[in-house]
């Protein structure tokens, strides 16, 4: 059965691709960076330098919204690539 093959490959028994890959590690870092940056409140709780009249505290956090999206999108691309390679490996095993 095709589905069984898939599962054996999926649970990683004799898969040719390791559980820890460069893509997965990088994706993990991409996801951790925005969270860590925003949780470090002391690193940005000050009022200078201002940007267009706005204190640092505000524009810095607003800037992190698109940055966070960029990091998340990178993680998405990295994991998509990882999954495609895994699928290719599995396809090779099954046939």
């Amino acid at each position: 059965m095709l589905e069984q093959d898939r599962e054996v490959g999926g649970t990683g028994v004799p898969s040719t691709r390791a559980a820890v890959t460069a893509e997965r590690v990088l994706a993990g870092i991409c996801l951790a960076v925005p969270v860590v940056a925003l949780l470090s409140v002391p690193s940005y709780s000050r009022s200078t330098p201002e940007l267009g009249g706005m204190p640092f505290f505000y524009w810095y956090q607003l800037l992190w919204v698109p940055l966070s999206a960029l990091f998340t999108w990178s993680a998405y691309l990295l994991l998509s690539r990882d999954e495609k390679r895994r699928a290719a490996h599995r396809g090779g095993d099954a046939r």
């Binding site: 409140v41 709780s45 956090q61 607003l62």
Partner: protein, 580 residues
Amino acid sequence: MTPLAAKVNAPALTVFLLLLALVTVLGFLAARWRRAANTRHLDEWGLGGRSFGTWVTWFLLGGDAYTAYTFVAVPAAVFATGAAGFWSVPYAAMVYPLVFLLLPRLWSVARVHGYVTPADFVRGRYGSRALGLAVALTGILATMPYIALQLVGLEAVLNVMGLGGGPGASPLVKDLPLLLAFAVLAAYTYSSGLRAPALIAFVKDTLVYLVVLVAVVYLPMRLGGYHHIFDTAAAKYRAVSPATHQPVGSLVPGSSAQWAYATLALGSALALFMYPHTVTGVLAAKSRRTVRRNMALLPAYSLLLGLLALLGFMAVTDGVGKGVKGYNAQLAVPQLFADLFPGWFAGVAFAAIGIGALVPAAIMSIGAANLFTRNVYKEFVRPGATAEQETKVAKYVSLLVKFGALVFVLGTDQQLAINLQLLGGLWILQTVPTIGAGLFTRWFHRWALLGGWAVGMAYGSWQAYGIASPATKHFGGSTALIPLIGRTGYIGLTAFVLNLVTATALTVLLRALRAPQGADETRPADYRAEVGDGTGPSDHQPDAGSPAAADTGDHQPDAGSPAAADAGGPEPAPATAPTG
């Protein structure tokens, strides 16, 4: 400026009513939108046939998670306290990286097993009816006051427009507009299910984006620029409050406020996608890729929220509520719009908030109804219920839930709804160990998770009960001293840590005692299942849930989105990133 509820703002009201009429029509038409062959399955009414592509999901989740109350309350918090109210911005920025790994797994396993609610998953994963019930009841309990708060948001704009009469008006006249809006909402949710808010969300979000973008450009021009705005705000927060003998706020959080700031952001970010209404929006997506993509696209709404928060400072500069003792900060932004926008555009802004209340209220009532139907009714009352009976019950419950929220808002103090909603966030956070950990591991014991949940709920509620504020004797806030650390932080997160520690300790103990683990009906591969890869719900009847059945052709409004391609082929299409 002008005291509220002085007289009816005619241009604003006209535009407001026109836009509301438009979405009402849309709400009823939605029943025909992407209609599937099997309309009686709960997947159809309660999850829109699990057929929404990237853009529909984006609008739906955005319309769902960023509610009218958020749009009123976030700038209101900034207006009242300054920096301390800005924590919603880091919260909204970190939520997507945090849940990026969780939600696609939840989507996949729900897809394979036909789960409609988070509690369905918990029950299947741990083989525990009690744990499923705990998660379901927490969800329902947390959602009810949230729906009530949507009404509070709606009431705020109605008030500022001069509807609802003056202080001396009879209760009937006062509440009539709210009653009408709610009756209409209940009717189209009943008939169209999740498709109604999904379609209306397009209108809502277009209006919200328009209003916020215009506001952050136009209002500073009227108010003398951002420099002046922040200067006047700084002056306001320096003033010493006669009640606490402390400054009323600050522009930058001092070192004593930083723990509270970070823990509020983190705790709320963890909780957001455990709410029944957000899970409903996620499960309605048609593919795993749709969910993943949205994690990177939804921050557009977070940026919007951040810009909106700045309106709190503009309201200060405008002098909203100046000199009024005990001014209701919730009215600050609607009042700002009424003061500075031309009448017709104020109407657009009010409609954005008003429709912004209706969309989440509809999804929340559907989410709560799904929970009740699947995890209380079918589980404990009538195990043999057919799919058709499930849908019927869910539809009635959605009415009941909304009616309950309405009675709540009209019958009790508005402050109570706000208190309970704060408490709701804290409660929902206590389901994170069960759902979140369960998506990755079966290590935790089901009874241990139940124990951890109970401890977290009890500790959090008890702590919150003890907090007084000038407005209320209990539940006056969401921060308290964190034991051991000795800083002020979000109670919900403290309770969450306590919950996790308890669950871990009990798991070790129960495993040592060899307590029965309960059957797990899921397999590792289920958590990675994607549409069209052969792992679909083959045990389901002719499959109203699968997009292949629901999407009858490529003429669907969503066909333009890149994700529309992934319904067909067994292999995910190459990542063609949509711009923006």
